[in-house]
C-alpha cells in the first residue's frame, strides 16, 4: 500500500509531496467548482424550457420531452419509452393519465389504445436548446430598451469621465495656481466616500436640475470621479515638463499640448480608467434604482432586478437575460484581461 502511494505521488525532480501541495491542489479544485459552477449552471439553465426548469430534481442538461403529432389528436402528444409486460420496449405517445395507469397509443397505428402502469414508462428526452428564452423577451419585453439605455449610460459616462478627469489631472499636475493644494485635498478626502452616503441630497439636486427619471441624471453625478483624477494625475506627474516647455517654444497652444502631447503619453492610465469606468457604469445599481422611475428609462441592472422581483418570476426569461447582460463584460475580460489585472494590482482600484 505504502509503495503504491509512493509510486502514484512520485514527481519529476524527485521532490516529495509536501502537505501544502495537497492543500493547494485541493483549494484549486474547490475554487474551480465554486467559481465556475454557478455561472455554468446559470448558462445551462437559461437554455431550458419552463417545463424542464420546473422539474425537481433538476436535470443536468437542457433536456426536453419529445412530442409527436398523432392523427386524430389535436395537440402533439408526449412520447414515452414503455417496457411492455413481455419485457420488450416500445415508444408510445401518451393520450392521458388516469390514476396510476396511462392511456397510450402507438404513433404508427393510432387506433388501438394501450393501457400502461405509469411506473413502466419513461419520457423520451433529447437535448434541445430553448432559444426562445432569448428571442421571446427581446421581442415581448423592454430588454432591448434596457440594453440600449445601459450602453448609452456606459459610453457617455466613460467618454465624459475620460475628458473631464484628464483635463483636471493635467491642471493639477502641470500648472501652478492658487488653491491647487486645496483642490487636491478635497479630492483626496472624497476619494473613497461613496455615492451611497450622499444619495439622499443628490436626489434633490438631480430633481432641481430636471434630470430626475432621465439617463443624464444617472450619468452626470458619476463622471467627476476623484479616483479617476487622482489616478491620471499620478501618472501625468511622470511625464517630463521639458516636453511641455518645448511645445510652448514651438507656439503650441495649451489645449494642443493637452490633447496632442499629454493625452497620448497618458494612454496606459487612460486605458485603465476607461476599462474601470465601463465596468462601474455597466454594473451600477443603487443610483439608477433611485433616479429612474419609468420603465422605459431602466438600465439593464434595474430592469433585471425589477423582472426577478415580480410576483410570478419567469425564471426562464430572467436567466437568459442575465446571461445576455454578462456577455459584454465577458468580452471585455477576454480581450483586456491583462490591463484589468495589471490595473487593479497597481492601483487598488475597483
Amino acid at each position: 500500500m505504502n509503495a503504491l502511494t509512493t509510486f502514484l505521488l512520485r514527481r519529476r525532480g524527485g521532490q516529495s509531496w509536501h502537505w501544502t501541495d495537497m492543500l493547494a491542489y485541493l483549494w484549486l479544485a474547490i475554487g474551480l467548482v465554486l467559481m465556475f459552477g454557478p455561472v455554468l449552471w446559470l448558462t445551462v439553465s437559461s437554455f431550458k424550457t419552463p417545463a424542464t426548469l420546473a422539474e425537481f430534481p433538476p436535470t443536468l442538461l437542457p433536456l426536453d420531452t419529445q412530442v409527436a403529432t398523432v392523427p386524430g389528436y389535436d395537440k402533439p402528444l408526449p412520447l414515452y419509452r414503455v417496457t411492455m409486460e413481455d419485457g420488450s420496449q416500445r415508444v408510445l405517445a401518451q393520450v392521458r393519465r388516469v390514476g396510476i395507469m396511462a392511456q397510450m397509443v402507438d404513433p404508427q397505428s393510432p387506433q388501438a389504445i394501450v393501457r400502461v402502469p405509469i411506473d413502466k414508462r419513461v419520457p423520451v428526452r433529447e437535448i434541445s436548446l430553448a432559444t426562445s428564452n432569448y428571442s421571446e423577451p427581446l421581442r415581448q419585453f423592454d430588454f432591448l430598451r434596457y440594453f440600449q439605455n445601459s450602453v448609452f449610460v456606459t459610453v457617455m459616462a466613460t467618454l465624459i469621465t475620460l475628458v473631464v478627469n484628464s483635463m483636471a489631472a493635467f491642471a493639477l499636475s502641470k500648472y501652478e495656481f492658487k488653491g491647487r493644494a486645496a483642490v487636491l485635498g478635497i479630492i483626496l478626502a472624497t476619494l473613497m466616500v461613496p455615492l451611497s452616503v450622499i444619495v439622499v441630497p443628490l436626489y434633490l439636486v438631480v430633481n432641481q436640475l430636471n434630470l430626475f427619471d432621465t439617463l443624464w441624471g444617472v450619468i452626470l453625478p458619476t463622471v467627476a470621479t476623484p479616483t479617476g483624477v487622482f489616478l491620471l494625475r499620478q501618472y501625468m506627474l511622470t511625464i517630463p515638463d521639458e516636453l511641455i516647455d518645448a511645445a510652448r517654444m514651438d507656439k503650441a497652444s495649451e489645449w494642443q499640448i493637452y490633447w496632442r502631447i499629454v493625452l497620448p503619453l497618458a494612454a496606459p492610465a487612460l486605458a485603465v480608467l476607461a476599462i474601470f469606468s465601463v465596468m462601474w457604469r455597466w454594473n451600477d445599481f443603487l443610483w439608477p434604482l433611485i433616479v429612474l422611475s419609468r420603465k422605459e428609462q431602466y438600465t439593464l441592472q434595474v430592469g433585471l432586478n425589477a423582472f426577478s422581483g415580480e410576483l410570478n418570476v419567469q425564471w426562464h426569461y430572467v436567466l437568459s437575460m442575465t446571461v445576455l447582460s454578462i456577455l459584454p463584460v465577458a468580452l471585455i475580460f477576454l480581450f483586456l484581461q491583462r490591463y484589468i489585472t495589471a490595473g487593479i494590482a497597481n492601483t487598488g482600484l475597483k
Binding site: 509536501h18 467559481m35 495656481f177 451611497s196 450622499i198 487593479i344
Partner: protein, 342 residues
Amino acid sequence: MALVTEERGQASSLSSLLALPFHWFMAALNAPMSFVQRRFGIGGMGVVFLAPNMLIFGVFVLIPVAINVAYSLTGGTAIFMDGRHFVGLDQYRSLLNCENYAIPSTCQEDAFWQSVHNTAFFVVVQVTVLVLAALGTALVLNREMRSRGFWRSVFFFPVLLSPVVVGLIWKWILQRDGLLNAILLDFGFERTLWLAERHWAMFWAIFVSVWAHLGFYTLILLAGLQAIPRDLYEAAMMDGTGRLRTFWRITLPLLWPNLLVVVILALIRAVQIFDEAFVLTGGGPGTSTMFITQYIYETGFAHVLRNLGLASAASILMGIVLVALTALQLAVSNRRAKKEGA
C-alpha cells in the same frame, strides 16, 4: 506608478482605434480654447482645465454633502428646503436613542439599530473570511505551476459581474427547488429554505459577497507576493528552513503592508454592503439581513412616508465611519510609499 510600461504600444494602438471621433472633437475645441488662452494667459489655463471637473464635482458631490447636513438637521417629509423645519439634532437623537445598544428592540429607531447590528456582524465575519481566503488563494496562485493565468482568471472573473447578476445567480441556486437542495437531497440531507431562515440568509449574504470579491483582493495580495525578492526564499531553502517557518518569517512580514491595505479596503466596502444582499435576500427574512445602506434607501426613498432627515442623519453617521477608514488607508499607503522610497 509602474503602470504597464511594456504595454504602452498596445495601449496606444487600442486608443487610436477608438480615438478618431475623439480626435475631431478635440481639434474642433482648439479655436475656442485658444481664445480663452489669450484671455487668461498660459498661467490661467490651469484653472480653465480644472473648471469642468470641479463644476460637476461641486454640483453633484460637494453641494449634496452640504445639503445632507442640512437635511439631517431638519424634519418633515418635504424634499425642498422651504418645506422643512429646523429640528436641531433631533434626528440624530432619535437615531441614537437607545436603552440598550446591544438589543435593537429597545431603541427608538429599532430598524436602524437592527441594520447596524447586522452590518457589524457582516463586516467582522465577511472581512475576516475574505482576507484569509484571498491570502490563501494568493499563496496558491503564487506557486510554480502550469497555466497560472487560467487559474487566476477562475478566481478573478466574478469581480466583473454586476452585483445584480451575482445576486440572481445565487438566488437561482439557493431557491427551494434549486441546485443546492437537489444535491443535498441526493446525499440524504433535508431540504432547507436557505433564504427564508434568518441565520442561513446571513450566511449566504456573507458567502456570496466573499465569492464575488475574492478575486479582487487575491490580485492585490498576489502582486505583493510577487514583489518579494526570490533570493530570500532561496537563502531560506539553503538553510533548510521549513515551509511554515518561511511563511511566518519571510512571506507574512513582507506582505504585511499589502495585507493592511487589503483589510482596510475590504472594511470600507463591507460597511457599505447593499447590492448583492438586496437582490439575494431583499433584507429578509424580516429584517435579518437588512444593512445600513438598505436602511437609508428604504427610509429615504422606498417608504411611503419619506423620512429624508432620518436617512440623511444615518448616512452622515455612516460617512463618518467611512472617512475615518479612508484616512487610515491613506495613512497606511503613504507610510508604505515612504518605506519603498527609502
